[in-house]
Symmetry: C3
Subunit: 385 residues, 3 copies
């Protein structure tokens, strides 16, 4: 791979947090991907990505996670940062401390904070905004000598580290971002015997890929709507990019002639809304009942499976299959799932490739939000560019 | 800020652990604060505090903690140490291993051990003393190539990282340690609807500030006594420093003409004593009952609140409000708490400043207990002094 | 100590994982011990063992552990690696993800993976083999830019970091590996009022020491057999090394004239087999019943204790006592245990010495499996050899 760093813009203009891709300038998205590619290549060569001598990256996971936790840790370590992993069950955060105070208390020597809070609609991103505001204020008031950058590791609205990794992978797969124009992506719901999967992956995908001229067909059964404001963003993006965006209730319609398919389960919108309310009221019996209802609704749609028959109707029968992993594979991880074993096995290694971009995307986000003159520093790191 | 390192004494004389401030020479207290200030300033400048190439800091938390955990991790990371966080629930320590053995097993390549064990009177500090003795023996016997230093991150008797941070903050606020002489501090109990808060913060404060010539008025309702031996230490300190120390049962008496107020909840002494006994006998039903009793006793003293009316009777109505955080704020974190919203809001940023010293205080403690020639090393780190 | 690195073989030939000592060439075992000794000496001198600038060591503990966790963390830190500790309760691994996928997802920037999975016969080592295969495939397929090395931190079959540390200690105690020839080791069962202790320590010991010409007498009550295939390996090793190996049901027979005794509790073989079945079927009531049965069987053999009377019948009454720690000490950690207080107290510091090799053994394993030209790198680290 030949690394070319084109016109790195004055990144200092863009602000420090990475919360929603649609609030970042398109140029910044492109540069982040470029830096991630460069880090990936340097690491493959055996070169160090270390930039910091010391410093902390604090992660706050309000939902269990192995892979994102790994990606965050690996990214921080590669840049030279130590990681402090905050388990909210253990910490006092769960016991009524104000967000503002905690955000300051955990930032005195912190470079980056990563947060995953994706379980409840209307909560996760709001929490991140509060942390972000608290960090601004802490810096302005002089509590914090530096303003740590904040990375959204998945919220109720967006999953930018996933969608950015996916975009980096699509860029590599199709050769360039320009080549994505006019390619059709089927972002579709798929059946899974599980409950309460967040909406942030499909929302992240439709909110990002529409900006790069891809034709996005979002398909799901009735009642599985995504957040209306994100669908609206995708619609506007498509208009601005001169691309196509549609919502359909037919998996077939979406798959037809698609260049890329992304079949993935998520929870019914109404169930997710009720869940947030029940959680706030702390009604565990009703939460259990809601889970049963959610599973019952799901079970009407077991035919939403990505299998050979479905892949056959894609463009030349050879669309790229994508998934954020882990996928629910029929006959492997469950009786009936999102994808047939044949299709998954064909794309297994390809989905691993897709996933491999995430640590570098996070490292690029961390780097760009904490380094004063990233262009100069990148040139120092890679004397061959 | 102009950094001046005055006559660094031969610190090797002072022994390696930091368990109780009153067992440290006054000069050592002063130097620790000075080094913390220097570290804080270097970090604000963007300079590295790294001193170690590799090495471990092991933390043992026997009570949940977010902030002290962060401060310990940040301090270790800043000096170049990795952190191994020992969760006692997970570890075999909770299953009957002798302290001596574990202390040795966790120290083969360890530079610093930090322990928080503040839940039971008569237990926490004793445990730290045992670890300290085990480390001495391990080093003498040749099991350990180096003798790790031990930092008390809060025990039943003292909370030295808190009281030292508070002293550093007071030094900055009033301009110098000398300026503290004759200033009146009201260390008072305050109401909180919570149970079992340790006595170590007020004990740490009265045991340290009396040595620096501050006039300390300790106020609490009857039955909320601190450990008699610590009260005695404060009394002796005051005599030696030519300052004033009193115990009163009137919050008003303490606040009157005070330059500094530190209103904070703690548990009734008798309740804390019974709790230790019940815990050792493992009687959970009785522990629950004791908690109810503790809360009932507390509820007689809801008028022990720091509010505008109370602040008005301090020196010129403008005392400095201090708190170790998180505070129980009336109408914010609870219905009725330690401090009114108006008072806390006025001092919120100021309490954050106070807290910001802790990572540097811990880093200074770690540095002084592990570095052979600290004076020379500090000069190397900061060529401008 | 004078460090001599003799003819370091071309280690690249030996493959990257350290799962079972008997699958490693004898030369490789010797070199690993030599590197561990060198690291230990360098650390005692105060020299750095740092080799990596950045990089991750991922640990997966499927059973609670304090000491091995520490040794792994300390080894990784000493070489310059950060540690990501995977708690399987928290992670998604416990929820049906395939081993292959997880192994790849946690390896994008990983140098070393350490796994402890010792609870169920037929499971732990098989899991490690699966991870190993997944890493091979991930590297071949191009998912992973480098192939991380895998360290067995204890499985159902072997406990190589323990047996290798024990061998290093025996080498130091007797002066050389050659001096071990003809020395008699009593690897014996001993009573403990605990349940379900793994078989891997005694298996590791008989599988390793027999290769170095030691005469090994394995003693246990009937029904406490070790895995037949490991006993067979020990038997074959003894034939090849021209040494002696026997299985007896008499602790006295084993202790008689022994130079080294290693009395240690483990679970009855049949109980361990049933436990694996019950665990897979998830029958908790039966598991509880089995625990009671196991304890009842144990209680017939309380006289299997290492005490003065037993030590008297060893070679000159002065055998070396070994234990992997923590030991169950009669009258200290339990009413009746593996070893009398008198014997343990005499050897306490000696068992700490034994344990002190483990971090260096793990560091040596990590180093040899990740560094391209270890001989050259070792010479760089230690200019005096």
């Amino acid at each position: 791979m030949d690394i070319q760093l084109y016109d790195l813009p004055d990144l200092a203009d863009y602000g420090q947090d990475f919360l929603l891709t649609w609030n970042q300038p398109k140029k910044y998205i492109e540069v982040t991907i470029q830096v991630a590619e460069m880090f990936r290549e340097l690491h493959r060569r055996g070169d160090s990505l270390r930039h910091f001598n010391t410093g902390l990256a604090v992660s706050i996971f309000r939902d269990q996670s192995t892979r994102t936790r790994y990606s965050f840790t690996a990214a921080a370590n590669a840049l030279g940062l130590g990681v402090m992993d905050l388990d909210e069950e253990k910490s006092q955060i769960a016991h009524g401390e104000t967000v503002r105070e905690t955000a300051n208390m955990l930032s005195f020597l912190t470079k980056v904070i990563g947060i995953r809070d994706d379980m409840y609609l209307g909560m996760g991103n709001r929490y991140m905004q509060e942390v972000s505001g608290a960090l601004d204020l802490g810096f302005e008031e002089g509590t914090l000598p530096f303003r740590p950058g904040l990375v959204n590791l998945q919220c109720d609205i967006d999953h930018p580290t996933q969608s950015m990794s996916d975009l980096a992978w699509l860029k590599q797969y199709f050769g360039s971002l320009d080549n994505l124009r006019g390619k059709k992506v089927a972002m579709t719901w798929a059946y899974s015997p599980s409950y309460g999967k967040p909406l942030s992956v499909p929302q992240g995908i439709i909110g990002l890929l529409t900006r790069f001229g891809m034709d996005v067909s979002l398909a799901h059964p009735e009642g599985y709507d995504l957040l209306p404001e994100v669908v609206e963003i995708a619609r506007t993006n498509a208009v601005e990019a001169g691309s196509f965006f549609e919502v359909t209730h037919s998996m077939e319609a979406a798959f037809e002639d698609a260049d890329v398919v992304y079949p993935k389960s998520w929870a019914p919108f109404a169930v997710m809304e009720q869940r947030t309310e029940l959680l706030q009221s702390g009604d565990k019996a009703e939460l259990k009942k809601l889970e049963q209802e959610g599973l019952a609704i799901n079970s009407s749609y077991t035919d939403w499976e990505c299998n050979d028959r479905m892949m056959d109707i894609t463009h030349n029968g050879s669309a790229l299959y994508m998934h954020c992993l882990p996928a629910d594979i029929t006959g492997v991880s469950c009786e009936q799932g999102e994808v047939s074993r044949t299709v998954f096995d064909k794309f297994r290694q390809v989905t691993y490739q897709e996933a491999s971009f995430k640590p570098y995307i996070i490292a690029a986000m961390m780097f760009l939000m904490t380094v004063e003159n990233p262009a100069a520093e990148l040139i120092k790191m890679n004397p061959n560019i």
